[in-house]
């Protein structure tokens, strides 16, 4: 199967006997445990691990570090760098104040939305100057992480 981390992609084979894993010339064997928790032997070295499924892949704990690897779906990741047209909810929570209306002309860094999550307030500002095309919620609405709160008209 194919997995991805940032822009790296690797092909890993889970061999049919189940406890042998292969990636290129690398061979490993599960010596204890299961897919959630156990120890892996890699060329004579024993490595304890823990793993759990995430929305889009797997979180792996090894030696005090957690890695989030994604299942490669062939879909290209969005390229970073360009200024976004959108304000996304950075966390799940409630909209305390929606200060943008479609048609509003806004300046860069102008505060447009105040959110609350776990009793913390967070002010979200316009990513650039522009005109508000649409809003994705009203004061009092509960929104998911990643929800589009404000969309600006394309430049």
């Amino acid at each position: 199967m194919k997995l991805r981390y940032d822009d790296q992609e690797r092909e890993i084979k889970v061999v049919s006997s189940g406890d042998v894993l292969q990636a290129g010339d690398l061979l490993a064997r599960v010596v204890a445990g299961d897919e959630d928790e156990g120890t892996l032997e890699i060329h004579g070295r024993i490595v304890p691990y823990a793993a759990a499924r995430t929305k889009d892949g797997v979180a792996v704990w090894i030696a005090g570090r957690v890695w989030h690897l994604q299942a490669a779906t062939g879909k290209k990741r969005e390229t970073a760098g360009a200024v976004s047209d959108e304000i996304l909810a950075p966390m799940p929570g409630t909209i305390l104040k929606m200060q943008a209306q479609p048609g509003d002309v806004v300046t860069e860094k102008q505060p447009l939305v105040v959110m609350e999550s776990m009793k913390m307030e967070l002010t979200l500002a316009a990513p650039r100057a522009g005109t508000v095309a649409s809003i994705g919620g009203r004061t009092g609405d509960l929104v998911e992480m990643g929800a589009v709160l404000v969309r600006l008209e394309p430049q």
Partner: protein, 486 residues
């Protein structure tokens, strides 16, 4: 004795432990979403609070008192947060003939009003920071100029960093006051704020105080809580690397003077800010047991919850000679993403495995399978280590942070590890803007081979379970067919 614990999470678990160890009965209360929570399982009895929101459950004074009466509780421990600093609740307990484990309603009320608290301290000769009360509709610009920039906007009823804003320029003032006032109104039901002179690069050093109903008052040494994010503490330690014997004696005397000025009973904390010049100022009194009380317990070999119960039942302070030993450190493990501005992270705790070793203590209210939601504080656990000296407890903490496994939510475990490994932290050169001054860089190295392999193993099992409904019943290793993946 039967003690009702009007709280949830790790502090409710912690209080139940001491109550039970004293031979008493611990009674938990819970909202529906906490039915299976650790604090419910830790108690001897647990009763349901009807209602959907926090306001309708853990903050509902009438409902909690009804449960206390019906189930014959002799005393109520409020923990921290929720009703712990609510004078009306303490008063209502008294009227119902139930002992409130904490200071008197009068003291809670006086200290809950930060403006009145300052006046009392000033009269008692405790140094205070210059400041002024404001409301939104008056000439705050002039008043702010009188205090001087930079200044802090703080909630009159505040605590825990809620309703607090730093203002460096006059242009930021009005928005900061409006926002702080709104946050304060939502968190405390009191939207009043005040402005206070801001001490640059200050340390936050607090003293644990304890008083009894026989007129005794002592301090139980300091806690250095300077390292904060979003004005909330994340690392606490005692002794403070900033205090020598002379400064400790002077600050301790001020803390005891504060306790005496209030006729303080039970556990409390006098918070100070300490300037780089060694000047210290009274900040506030927290009229409750603090989140970070374990470091004091580890330093002195004391059970503070037990002491609270003893003092509440009318006995004198149970401490004898206080003998600080070594160094104790606490890290707060949060479900949050340090790489994204410490934003809370929600989800199911698919793995939750705390390290075990001598001199490593874990206080937690969650367990594997617990849900971390937006409705409560995202603190998962407190990790506390003790060492013969600071470098030993730090080394022990680094070890423990590396062996704490949490999957299902993003945590600050790696961040805390890198933070306490920072050379400025190791030197003890810390202040409340440590994290702004020294950015703890997100780690950038790539996953090792084994991470890729384990991820593939987990994905393979996920697919196998999807393919055969009973895959969990048989050993996945025995069934080759479902495992072939290429």
């Amino acid at each position: 004795m039967r003690v009702l614990i009007a709280n949830r999470g790790e502090i409710a678990v912690r209080v139940a432990q001491s109550v039970q160890q004293m031979g008493f009965q611990a009674i938990a209360v819970y909202a529906d979403s906490d039915r299976g929570a650790l604090h419910v399982r830790s108690a001897d009895e647990a009763y349901r609070l009807a209602g959907a929101t926090v306001g309708e459950t853990y903050l509902d004074i009438e409902q909690i008192l009804d449960l206390a009466r019906v189930h014959k509780a002799d005393a109520i421990h409020p923990g921290y947060g929720f009703l712990s600093e609510n004078a009306r609740f303490a008063e209502a307990c008294g009227k119902a003939g139930i002992t409130f484990i904490g200071p008197t309603p009068e003291v809670i009320r006086a200290m809950g009003d930060k403006i009145q608290a300052k006046e009392i301290m000033q009269k008692a000769g405790v140094p205070v920071v210059p400041g002024v009360t404001v409301t939104l509709d008056e000439e705050i610009t002039e008043k702010a100029a009188g205090v001087g920039y930079p200044l802090l906007v703080k909630a009159a009823a505040g605590g825990g960093g809620k309703g607090m804003r730093l203002v460096r320029r006059p242009a930021e003032l009005k928005e900061a006051v409006a926002s702080a006032s709104r946050e304060a109104g939502a968190a405390f039901g009191d939207a009043r704020v005040f402005l206070e002179k801001y001490v640059e690069r200050p340390r936050h050093v607090e003293f644990q105080i304890f008083g009894d109903s026989h007129g005794n008052a002592v301090h139980l040494f300091e806690r250095e809580c300077s390292v904060q994010r979003r004005h909330q503490k994340i690392v606490e330690e005692t002794p403070s690397p900033a205090l020598d014997d002379d400064l400790r004696a002077r600050m301790g005397a001020a803390a005891v003077a504060a306790a005496r000025a209030m006729n303080y009973t039970n556990a409390g904390t006098v918070e100070f800010i300490l300037g780089q010049d060694g000047q210290f100022y009274f900040l506030e009194v927290n009229t409750r047991l603090q989140v970070e009380h374990p470091v004091t317990e580890q330093l002195l070999g004391l059970d503070l919850v037990r002491a609270q119960l003893e003092v509440a039942s009318g006995r004198p302070l149970p401490f004898g000679t206080l003998q600080p030993r070594g160094h104790a450190l606490e890290c707060r493990i949060y479900a949050e993403d340090p790489a994204r501005g410490f934003l809370p992270s929600t989800g199911t705790l698919q793995r939750f495995s705390a390290p075990r070793a001598p001199f490593v203590r874990v206080d937690t209210g969650v367990s594997e399978g617990s849900e971390v939601t937006v409705h409560h504080d995202p603190m998962l656990a407190k990790l506390i280590t003790w060492g013969a000296d600071r470098s030993e407890s730090l080394a022990r903490m680094r070890w423990a942070l590396r062996r704490f496994v949490v999957l299902g939510v993003t945590t600050n475990l790696e961040f805390l590890h890198d933070l306490i490994s920072h050379e400025a932290f190791a030197r003890g050169d810390i202040h409340t803007h440590f994290l702004e001054e020294h950015s703890i860089a997100a780690r950038t190295e790539n996953p090792p081979d084994e991470a890729w392999l384990v991820a593939a193993l987990q994905r393979a099992a996920v697919r196998a379970v999807g393919a055969t409904a009973s895959a969990r019943d048989s050993s996945p290793w025995a069934d080759g067919g479902a495992w072939r993946l290429d």
